[in-house]
């Protein structure tokens, strides 16, 4: 039993108190490990009938950890109701606990406690996702925040410091620092002295980001047909006052040599609304327009307007192309070559 477990138990019971019906009381926990459980707490009904809850405390419990926990519970021979307390329990962990007939309680409000005597049934939904997921060390560039951070590192000529990065991306400095440590360990950035960044290997970082956060993982994709062709579509875009940014072949073609684009790929906030305004028809086969709803607004960062049409920044476009179907990856590499020879044109 660690000090942190102690805190966890107290916070967990506080959570439980909030959910108990009027008149029910849960007492302070007893933390000595008696009878093989981590802690116990008394539960008193309005009619003064009472029982003792056995508490198993886990800082983290993944679905795989449920089976061993059930074994522990069986060995403890605790006669009363058993409740697992954790900081957060995912849906699949909770499902396994329900199957094993173990009560549970997490700090986001996921609760299931069944007591026969005195009769009590509480079941409530808390968070569907771990709110503190980022507390874990960064191990990949997947996810919206990592993407935002990578974009700044790609687009800035002078690598910003942790605090500047945090304020530019509106991400907490702790997470920024963890990602930088990860990038450093992967030799994607070079740090000197007290962790100050000296340089960014942007082509490598760009390719790594594309690989770990492929296009389909960064948003929702929907395909449409503009029966009048792409020129018509682009003409309509110039009249659009919604936020959008053309990416993919069409955006790359304006910078690097490319074959005529047959497909328009566009980031939009709401695909259904944009499709209606742009007179697109939903299409499964024969589509020539792909609308992407981003998980993060960062895709619009650094967009520039040419001939009345908004295009993504080159770094965004290259990452999108590298994991696009067809000629996309080749066009992405072509764009990276252009970016290497024209760094002053896009890195600020």
């Amino acid at each position: 039993m660690h000090i942190s477990d102690n805190t966890l138990v107290r916070e967990g019971l506080r959570e439980l108190r909030r959910r108990l019906p009027t008149g029910w009381i849960v007492g302070e926990p007893t933390l000595e490990a008696i009878s093989g459980v981590d802690a116990t707490a008394g539960l008193v009904a309005p009619d003064q009938r009472a029982c003792t809850l056995g508490l198993e405390v886990r800082a983290r419990l993944d679905p795989k950890g449920v089976r061993p926990l059930l074994d522990v519970a069986a060995r403890s021979r605790w006669p009363g109701p058993l409740v697992v307390i954790a900081r957060y329990l995912s849906e699949s962990t909770r499902a396994r606990l329900r199957e094993g007939d173990l009560g549970y309680l997490d700090l986001t409000g996921n609760v299931r406690i069944v007591v026969r005597e005195p009769g009590l049934y509480i079941e409530a939904q808390g968070a569907a996702e771990d709110p503190d997921r980022e507390e874990r060390p960064a191990r990949s560039l997947r996810g919206a925040k990592a993407g935002r951070l990578v974009r700044v590192l790609l687009d800035r000529k002078e690598p910003p410091g942790v605090r500047e990065l945090a304020s530019l991306t509106k991400i907490d400095a702790g997470y920024v620092s963890r990602v930088l440590t990860f990038l450093d360990s992967e030799a994607l950035v070079t740090r000197v002295g007290h962790g100050r960044m000296q340089s960014v290997d942007w082509p490598a970082l760009l390719r790594r980001w594309a690989q770990e956060a492929p296009l389909e993982s960064r948003g929702v994709q929907r395909t449409y047909l503009e029966p009048r062709g792409l020129s018509s579509f682009m003409a309509r875009l110039t009249k659009s006052d919604e936020r959008y940014a053309v990416t993919g072949s069409l955006a790359a073609a304006a910078l690097a040599p490319a074959a005529p684009a047959r497909f328009a790929t566009v980031w939009v906030r709401d695909a259904a609304t944009a499709a209606t305004r742009l007179s697109l028809r939903p299409a499964e086969s024969g589509a020539n327009v792909l609308l992407l709803e981003p998980n993060d607004e960062g895709v619009f960062e650094g967009a520039t307007q040419r001939d009345g049409v908004w295009y993504t920044a080159p770094s965004q476009c290259a990452a999108d192309l590298l994991t696009s179907p067809g000629r996309g990856p080749a066009e992405g590499e072509e764009l990276i070559r252009w970016m290497q020879t024209n760094e002053e044109a896009w890195r600020r």
Partner: protein, 277 residues
């Protein structure tokens, strides 16, 4: 300039030569065919040779004067009949930059519904040679749906331009549908005609196209051709298996996605038919 481009420039120059030669009759003439399609809607994102070198001119007998005879005006300007039996096909010989001989044809066409001649081919325009112009079915809309447009040379060195009536997109659409139907299975079928249909559908807003088409349906001269044209277009382009859809896909070739071409034909023709209901 590629040889192909040069032929286009030459074809336009010869067309201007013909219009120049037909000067007094210009008011009776409507530009139709591929050059009219290109003038109306351009390539419409279909990067396939947009027109053949022929220039097609429809003649409205109601406006045409008897003097000068068409054949005389054309022959004075260096045109000659393609063969001694040909009807309405006038040839100009030109030399390309590579000193190759090129023949450019100008076709004089009379819509069947207004033709004075009732035979199979010769339009028999009064005062003009029997073989000067030929009867064509489905072209009747051109004298109903047309607007005056400026037709200029494609090379900077040629300052000429004429204000000439150009068939509207509805008239061209009807004409193409008839042409596809007439030539189906004859060996004279040209896939490019179907691509022109898609170009017209793409390049014209449905409201405009429907309004023009309604005008064709309401005019006695073009009513029958337009009615038949509507059924033909539906059969040719409203289904994936329609002959027009298949021709358009073949014509667009590797430069376009077959499913996109098919879906575009179906959607846009569907919109037009709906607007005409």
């Amino acid at each position: 300039m590629s040889e192909l481009d040069e032929l286009y420039v030459m074809a336009r120059r010869v067309l201007l030569d013909a219009l120049d030669a037909l000067g007094p009759h210009r008011d009776a003439i409507v530009l139709v065919g591929a050059q009219a399609v290109y003038l109306r809607v351009g390539e419409a994102d279909l990067a396939v040779a947009p027109f053949t070198t022929d220039g097609d001119l429809a003649i409205d007998p109601a406006v045409l004067a008897e003097i000068p005879p068409l054949e005389q005006a054309l022959m004075d300007a260096g045109f000659f009949p393609k063969t001694k039996d040909s009807v309405g096909v006038w040839i100009a010989k030109r030399t390309t930059n590579q000193q190759a001989d090129a023949e450019v044809a100008i076709d004089l066409l009379v819509p069947a519904s207004v033709s004075p001649g009732a035979g199979r081919r010769a339009a028999r325009l009064p005062g003009h040679d029997t073989r000067a112009a030929r009867i064509v079915s489905g072209l009747d809309g051109a004298i109903v749906d047309a607007d005056v447009m400026k037709l200029a040379a494609l090379d900077a060195g040629d300052p000429r331009s004429f204000d000439i009536r150009v068939a509207g997109p509805a008239a061209l659409l009807v004409a193409k549908a008839h042409k596809i139907n007439d030539r189906q299975g004859t060996g004279r079928q040209s896939d490019k005609d179907a691509l022109d249909v898609l170009r017209l559908l793409r390049g014209t807003e449905t409201d405009d196209l429907a309004a023009r088409y309604a005008k064709l349906l309401a005019d006695k001269r073009s009513e029958e051709a337009a009615k038949t044209g509507r059924s033909l277009l539906e059969a040719q382009f409203a289904q994936r298996t329609g002959v027009g859809v298949e021709m358009a896909i073949r014509s667009a070739g590797a430069l376009a996605d077959a499913d996109e071409i098919a879906a575009s034909c179906q959607v846009l023709l569907g919109d037009l038919l709906l607007a005409l209901m």
